[in-house]
Symmetry: C2
């Protein structure tokens, strides 16, 4: 059953990360982390919050996504030049990106090294594979 009172565990976890467990952060954390792996944009998370009758502004959604990312609770996924995606799965892993719908899906680990045409989701065609190795340090 869903919790009717503030979740003491979640409060502790947020506090441990240096984030005050405000009503907004608790509510967004619940949306993000209580439903298995999720891929969200600011907009989709904001919409989910509206649907769940959570009173929160879009600006706070942006702030929270960045704070959670900085705290290691989320990982940014770069697939679209005009939108920031965030993934609740922060482990090293990779994605299918459905170009028409903007949906993201994890690629099961086993598949990534030996991708054959038959491994694609049914009904889809490979458009392209992008591999970007991000570096820090000298130019």
């Amino acid at each position: 059953m869903a919790e009717l009172r503030p979740n003491a565990d979640a409060m502790k976890r947020l506090r441990a990360l240096g984030l005050r467990p405000t009503r907004q952060r608790m509510a967004l954390a619940r949306l993000l982390f209580d439903h298995g792996n999720m891929h969200v944009t600011a907009e989709t998370l904001y919409d989910s919050a509206q649907d769940a009758d959570i009173k929160v502004s879009l600006a706070t959604v942006y702030n929270t996504l960045h704070q959670f990312t900085a705290a290691g609770l989320l990982r940014q996924v770069i697939v679209d030049p005009s939108r920031c995606y965030f993934d609740t799965n922060v482990d090293e892993h990779h994605h299918f990106f459905f170009e028409e719908t903007g949906q993201l899906a994890d690629i099961p680990d086993e598949l990534i090294r030996s991708m054959a045409p038959g491994d694609l989701p049914p009904g889809t065609k490979l458009s392209r594979i992008d591999i970007v190795v991000r570096l820090r340090g000298a130019a």
Copy 2:
């Protein structure tokens, strides 16, 4: 030596793609394709044009980049959620992205399948590897 008259070859090539070889397109094509492989954004190409005393508007740079991409002369590279990169190398290949400077560099083909720590450019540290498999078709 650089050509002082319109390049008949380039004109033919553009015309074959259904694009009128206008002064702007010819000049941008020369910037893009006469200097080996390049990675540009609209802004960097616009700046290069300014430096080369090519009279062209930023809007035309955007149009041209998209027309060239549609024609298969360029390939988009998605590495930054806030900028569109274009690559004059349209073959399937992958990139190093230097996060601090925004620079892109091709990853030599041989490296991509057996990337070891020593294969990174000197002075850099691995930040992360992003692999995105883009699909068309069912969601």
